[in-house]
Symmetry: C2
Subunit: 198 residues, 2 copies
C-alpha cells in the first residue's frame, strides 16, 4: 500500500514514500538485505565521528532470537510486530566509559537510524519504530551495559494489506497521514516566528 | 568533490554520497529549495507523532540574519561556515509545557534532520552539522524557550574545492572517510556479540 506524503513541495521519492505500517506479511528479511540497512546507518554523521549507535538484530529466520525480542515489546505492539521480517533494537552510548555524559548520543542515533530506515524503503521494505517496549526487560535479556540507552525497537518487513490487522489497528493504518504545517516548525529571526519560505 | 562512502555492500546513492564538507562556494540557498529540505524533515516519524523538532533558518540571501547565526558558532566553525548558503539551528522540545521530560525528543530530531540532510543532497547541496556552537548565545539571541534544547547548527550549501580551505581544514577535508566495522555496531543474541550478516 502506498501512502505517499502529501507534501507542500516535491521531495525525493524515497523520503515521500516512507511511512510506518503495522501490517507485515511474515516474510523474513535475509542477512544480505539487513547488511545493507546497517551499512546505511554506519555511514551517518556524528559529533567527532563517535558513532555511538549500537543495534541488536534478529531476523525472523532465527525464530528463537526473534521471539526473545518480541517478548520485550509492549503487548499492543506484539500483536502486529510478530509478523515483521526482522526486529532491531536501537541503543546508543549515552556516556563514555568514565561515566561522562554524551548528550548528543540519542540525536546521533536518530541520524543513523533514519538512514537505516530509508535504505530499507529503497529495498522495498517498510519499518515501524516502537517506543512502547520494555526497556528494563531488554537491558536484562540482552545484557545492555549501563552506559547505553535503549531507545526504540524497529519492526522491519514486507508490507501486507491493512485488512490483515485487527479492527483497531486497521483504522490507524488507513487514517490520513498528518503533520504540523511548516510554519509551526521552521522559524526565522526569532524562535517561534514562522519563516517565509515562499 | 565526490567522497562516496566505501561501503561493504551497495546502498542507495543519496546515502552513499552524503558527506559533510567544510568548503562551500558562498552561493545562497533559495527559499524554495529550503522549503523542500524542511518538508523532508516534516514527514519524519516520531513517537505519538509529536514532531518535537523546531528549526531556525537563515539563508545567505538575508545577510543580517545569516550573520546573527554565524556569530553564535565556535570560532573554528565560523572560518568556514560563513561561506555556507544557509544556516539552520536544530532545536527540539525536550519537555512539554508542564515540564514533563520528553526523553525521545533528541532522537526524533535526529530522525527528522537526517531526512533534511538527505533531501539537501538530493538537490545538489551538501551539509555539515556543527556541535561546536555557543548554545547559551543562541538561546539568548533567538529567544529559545527553556523547554527546547539547542542541538546543532547545520551549514548547508554548494560545495567548493577543498583547496579553498585553510591548510588545517584542507587536510581534514581530504582525509579518508572512516567508520567502525559493522561487527562493532550490530549485535545479535547479546549486546556486544557481533551479528553474522553474511
Amino acid at each position: 500500500m502506498s501512502r505517499k506524503a502529501e507534501t507542500s513541495t516535491p521531495i525525493n521519492d524515497v523520503l515521500a514514500n516512507r511511512w510506518s505500517p503495522r501490517a507485515y506479511n511474515g516474510e523474513a528479511v535475509d542477512a544480505a538485505t539487513l547488511a545493507k540497512l546497517f551499512e546505511a546507518a554506519r555511514w551517518a554523521a556524528s559529533g567527532f565521528n563517535r558513532q555511538p549507535w549500537r543495534y541488536l538484530v534478529a531476523s525472523r529466520n532465527e525464530k528463537a532470537e526473534f521471539d526473545r525480542i518480541v517478548a520485550c515489546l509492549g503487548e499492543f505492539n506484539q500483536v502486529w510486530a510478530k509478523n515483521a521480517g526482522a526486529l532491531v533494537i536501537v541503543t546508543t552510548l549515552s556516556s563514555d566509559e568514565d561515566g561522562k555524559p554524551k548528550p548528543m548520543a540519542k540525536y546521533n542515533a536518530g541520524l543513523a537510524t533514519a538512514q537505516l530506515v530509508l535504505e530499507a524503503h529503497a529495498n522495498g521494505l517498510h519499518c515501524r519504530q516502537m517506543g512502547g517496549i520494555n526497556r528494563d526487560a531488554i537491558r536484562a535479556e540482552f545484557n545492555v551495559p549501563e552506559n547505553a540507552d535503549v531507545i526504540v525497537c524497529i519492526a522491519i518487513g514486507y508490507a501486507a494489506p491493512a485488512e490483515t490487522l485487527s479492527e483497531r489497528n486497521y483504522e490507524k493504518e488507513i487514517a490520513p497521514r498528518v503533520r504540523k504545517p511548516l510554519s509551526e516548525i521552521v522559524f526565522s529571526g526569532d524562535w517561534g516566528k514562522a519563516a517565509d519560505l515562499s
